[in-house]
């Protein structure tokens, strides 16, 4: 059976934010067309691995909506039929024209990089949008009929207080998004952002413990399901039974195969993970010549696959079948963690299952690390 999930990388941005570690390219308007050509060429080369029916497509970036409008439309037009088509957007790029373009391009889910509604935090993050840009973007999307909008929020931002976070959550909830992703800011050592905000980041790291609890408490109280470590969606009961979890991302967390196209994009296909190398020129040149772009590959043995399955599966609120991860599970650690109230053993449709308790989910990284077992050869 072919791959049912497709990721498309659009690297262009108006500006590279200080904290960003994604594969991005600033400006280069003149190359958008050539890049979309290359994307379509790569898609054509990989067509064979895709299933007849592609369930989800995700356009991520960069800032996909910064891509030249006609080129974006051309890309959307060429994508296969799918159930869920998500595009990441920055608020300041959302215009009535863009909203209509996305609609026309069969996009049915927009993930909006709001990050914050506090001007001083947006400015610390070097975001171009102001608080009103975020609201306007949501209204514009609603106006053209989008009924699945997700907002990204960041916490642990230099200068942030617990009161700032409370206001950010309230402002986000006021927009009634179907979905929210809330991330702690990951400041990578050696970036100019970390350099500029070093001491403040240390202070934020201490505050972050409280922030995470604050986020989960506030959103679950507002009727959102904490379905993944950093992701929340409206409870089905509040939206007529709709499952608003991000289906594309669920595919990652369920350990499914996916095809990624574009510079820097990662695919996992039948036990092989491969990453297109970053670098716009090389990517475009290769595909113009009809060749696959330069890639690095990593083959995943069964034990590694099980460990990944464990680390991904435990991010979710639904139980993970023990049978799927038996070889990656340290039984003694599991027993200790069960006793400590961080892990629970339960049942699902396929038998014994494991999941993290509420407190366990707040400690998910440490708990997972402890649970990992390395098969002895």
């Amino acid at each position: 059976m072919g791959v049912r999930h497709l990721y498309v990388h659009l690297p262009f941005c108006a500006h590279r934010c200080g904290y960003c570690d994604f594969v991005t390219v600033v400006g280069r308007r003149e190359q958008h067309g050539a890049y979309v050509d290359a994307l379509l060429a790569e898609l054509a080369l990989e067509r064979g691995v895709l299933a007849e029916r592609v369930e989800t497509i995700f356009l991520g970036g960069g800032t996909p909506t910064f891509t030249d409008g006609s080129e974006l439309a051309r890309l959307l037009d060429a994508l296969p039929e799918t159930d869920e088509l998500t595009v990441e957007a920055n608020p300041e790029t959302v215009t009535p024209e863009l909203a209509r373009l996305l609609r026309a391009g069969r996009v049915n889910r927009v993930s909006l990089g709001a990050q914050s509604f506090r001007p001083h935090l947006l400015s610390a993050l070097e975001r171009r949008a102001g608080p009103d840009d975020v609201r306007r973007a949501v209204y514009l999307l609603r106006d053209v009929g989008f009924d699945n909008v997700s907002l990204d929020l960041l916490y642990g931002v230099p200068g942030q207080s617990a009161a700032d976070l409370e206001s950010d959550l309230a402002d986000a909830l006021a927009l009634e998004p179907e979905h929210l992703s809330c991330y702690e800011l990951e400041a990578k050592p050696g970036t100019r952002f970390t350099y500029a905000h070093g001491d403040e980041l240390v202070r934020q790291a201490d505050a972050m413990e409280g922030y995470f609890e604050q986020v989960v408490d506030t959103l679950t109280a507002a009727g959102y399901r904490w379905y993944e470590t950093a992701n929340f969606c409206l409870e089905p009961g509040r939206v007529g039974g709709r499952d608003l979890r991000a289906r594309h991302n669920l595919a990652y967390w369920w350990g499914r195969d996916y095809l990624g196209i574009g510079m820097g994009a990662v695919s996992t296909l039948a036990g092989v993970r491969r990453r297109n190398r970053p670098g716009l020129g090389r990517y475009v040149t290769a595909l113009q010549a009809g060749r696959t772009p330069p890639r690095e590959t990593e083959s995943l043995d069964e034990a590694t696959k099980e460990r990944e399955r464990l680390l991904l599966g435990l991010r979710l609120d639904e139980p993970l079948s023990v049978a799927e991860v038996a070889g990656a599970l340290d039984g003694r650690a599991a027993a200790r963690l069960v006793e400590g109230g961080l892990v629970e053993l339960t049942q699902n449709g396929s038998g014994d299952a494991i999941r993290l308790t509420r407190r366990g989910r707040f400690l998910g990284g440490g708990v997972t690390a402890e649970l990992l077992e390395f098969a002895t050869r």
């Binding site: 991302n249 990652y252 460990r307 440490g366 990992l372 390395f374």
Partner: protein
């Protein structure tokens, strides 16, 4: 050489008062070392000695001066090596008492001067460093003269650095120090005043022939330990090793023994000929026993064999070092090592780390305790974790300590000595300004941070020396440290009951700071027996997540968690808690840190 033309002498001096520099000048003036080979402090051959400015192994150098044979016997320069110093002095008829004219006499110099006076050595007082602007040669001379009951004019004033006055020192050695006595026709007797190990030739003994003479290939025997061997080679150091056919009465030289085990030839023992043995040994031999003990563990357990080999090698040159295998639940496999004192321990540690490139964890030093159990059994305890809990009596080693300070600091020293359970013995004015204080103290109070406290409370002016003074009953108790309800054997300590609470509290607080927060609350406790005397809780973490994980992140995040798990496996597990090595280090370094 006829005995009348031989002079055997040592130099008694405090660290940094210029002993090695003076030795260098003497070698230069007597042309013992060609100028091109001259480097600073020729006699301190080990790198470590050169860096610390102290001499660990005594050596003997023969030079010629105006028709005389002078044997300079170098003495070790620290309180831990009193016995070795006393043996070196026993090989001499005289000693230069060398004092920095800017500093005056220090306690250790005084202690060694008294040793020399007890042996009836002729002492030649020398005030050094007169070239320094802050030098006060007259005050130093007055102090030396007072000490020795001499005329101040007899005190030589020199600068070993510039060479000024050094010829006069050599002349004074010839004129003032008597030639060696001893009967050249009696059965041979030689004092072993030092040993070293040569990897090709085995144990080398440095000897002073007292009676008779010795020849190459002569069958020999040590009179205290009864070890027999043949003198493979006799020789002298000038300062290079130079073989000779025989060593006569009064002479100083070396004997290559071919022995492979340095412990079979002890400092202070007497060599005699097996063909014509002497009736009895020379006086003064003691079997020196280590008094300070610590566990030494490799930070990486794979280094255990390397540590064992390294200790074996050090032991070849250092008969006073002892080691026995020790297993700690917290620190793994290592050795319980015995040392003469704290400096000895520091030297061994540095050599292990530097010469053998080992990363080590060293437990807090403890002294040898003598414990009598309720059943009446007496055991010597070298490891706090082995101290029986049901005890009738514990005896601890005491020392007689001498401290010399400017008179303004007498109060500070008394206060410190009182805090450390010292009992005052006497006080003596060495001069108008400087006072000698004598105290009896438990050695256990010294091994922690006494010396550093003394230095800091007297702004570095105090000097300190001690002699062992036997075992006395002490109200000491064993304190255990528990993490997650489980005892951490490496952190147990034996301490006076009055200090147990304070110390337990410090250790527990420090561990709370050093052990990272875990997924669960962790109790850290100090206990005497089953009674908890201090407790801290390391609160569990509230958040430990990987913020995001999508298709492009999976490999990186998986590797992150794998690394975390593997790191946990390497950490020492105590009571289900991963205790990083840094935490042990921090606690074990608590004392040395308090010093700073």
């Amino acid at each position: 050489m006829e005995q009348a033309r031989i002079r055997n002498f040592a130099i008694i001096a405090h660290i940094d008062h210029g002993k090695s520099t003076l030795a260098d000048r003497i070698l230069e003036l007597t042309h013992a070392v060609p100028e091109r080979e001259m480097r600073e402090q020729v006699l301190d051959s080990m790198e470590l000695e050169r860096e610390r400015g102290i001499t660990i192994k005594a050596q003997a150098v023969r030079v010629r001066w105006r028709g005389h044979q002078l044997n300079l016997i170098d003495t070790p320069g620290h309180v831990d090596f009193t016995y070795e110093v006393s043996r070196s002095l026993q090989a001499c008829e005289g000693a230069l008492l060398l004092v920095d004219a800017a500093q005056g006499i220090e306690a250790q110099t005084l202690a060694n001067a008294y040793l020399a006076l007890d042996d009836e050595l002729e002492i030649v007082p020398v005030a050094n460093k007169i070239d320094l602007p802050q030098a006060d040669p007259e005050a130093a001379a007055a102090e030396l003269a007072e000490l020795l009951g001499e005329m101040p004019e007899r005190v030589l004033r020199i600068s070993a650095k510039t060479g000024e006055g050094v010829e006069a020192v050599l002349d004074a050695i010839v004129e003032r120090i008597p030639p060696p006595g001893g009967d050249p026709d009696a059965p041979g007797r030689a004092l072993v005043f030092d040993t070293s190990y040569d990897q090709y030739r085995g144990v080398v003994a440095f000897v002073r022939v007292v009676d008779g003479s010795f020849e190459t290939r002569e069958p020999l025997r040590t009179m205290a330990t009864g070890t027999s061997f043949e003198a493979e080679e006799l020789g002298v150091l000038s300062p290079a090793r130079r073989p000779v056919a025989s060593l006569g009465a009064g002479e100083v030289g070396y004997v290559i023994t071919g022995l492979k085990d340095v412990s079979r030839l002890r400092v202070g023992d007497t060599l005699t000929s097996r063909r014509r043995p002497a009736a009895g040994p020379l006086p003064g031999y003691q079997d020196v026993k280590p008094m300070v003990f610590a566990g030494i563990f490799p930070t990486d357990s794979d280094d255990y064999p390397a540590l064992r080999d390294a200790l074996e090698k050090l032991k070849l040159n250092d008969a006073s070092l002892s080691y026995d295998p020790e297993t700690s639940q917290a620190l793994g496999f290592g050795f319980r090592c015995g040392f003469l004192g704290l400096l000895h321990m520091e030297i061994v540690r540095e050599r292990l780390e530097r010469e053998f490139d080992l990363d080590l964890l060293i437990t807090a030093p403890t002294v040898a305790y003598r414990a009598t159990t309720r059943a009446g059994e007496v055991v010597e305890v070298h490891n706090p974790a082995e101290m029986p809990r049901e005890l009738e009596l514990v005896e601890e080693p005491y020392i007689k300590a001498s401290v010399i300070v400017p008179k303004d600091y007498v109060g500070a020293v008394m206060e410190l000595a009182n805090e450390r359970r010292g009992s005052f013995d006497h006080l003596e004015y060495l001069s108008e300004e400087r006072v000698l204080l004598s105290y009896e103290l438990p050695l256990g109070e010294i091994v922690l941070d006494f010396y550093d406290q003394l230095k800091s409370r007297t702004r570095g002016y105090a000097s300190f020396d001690y002699d062992l003074a036997g075992f006395r009953p002490g109200d000491v108790t064993r304190v255990d440290i528990l993490v997650g309800g489980e005892q951490v054997d490496a952190l147990s300590l034996i301490i006076h009951r009055d200090a147990a609470y304070e110390r337990g509290r410090q250790l527990v607080e420090r561990l709370r700071e050093e052990i990272p927060r875990q997924l669960f609350d962790v109790a850290v406790q100090a206990a005497i027996g089953s009674r908890v005397i201090a407790r801290e809780t390391i609160k569990a973490k509230r958040k430990d997540v990987l913020a995001k994980c999508y298709g492009g992140d999976i490999t990186r995040k998986r590797k992150l968690l794998e690394k975390q798990k593997k790191g946990k496996k390497r950490m020492k597990q105590v009571g289900g808690v991963e205790v990083p090595q840094e935490a042990f280090l921090a606690v074990l370094n608590l004392d040395s840190e308090r010093r700073r």
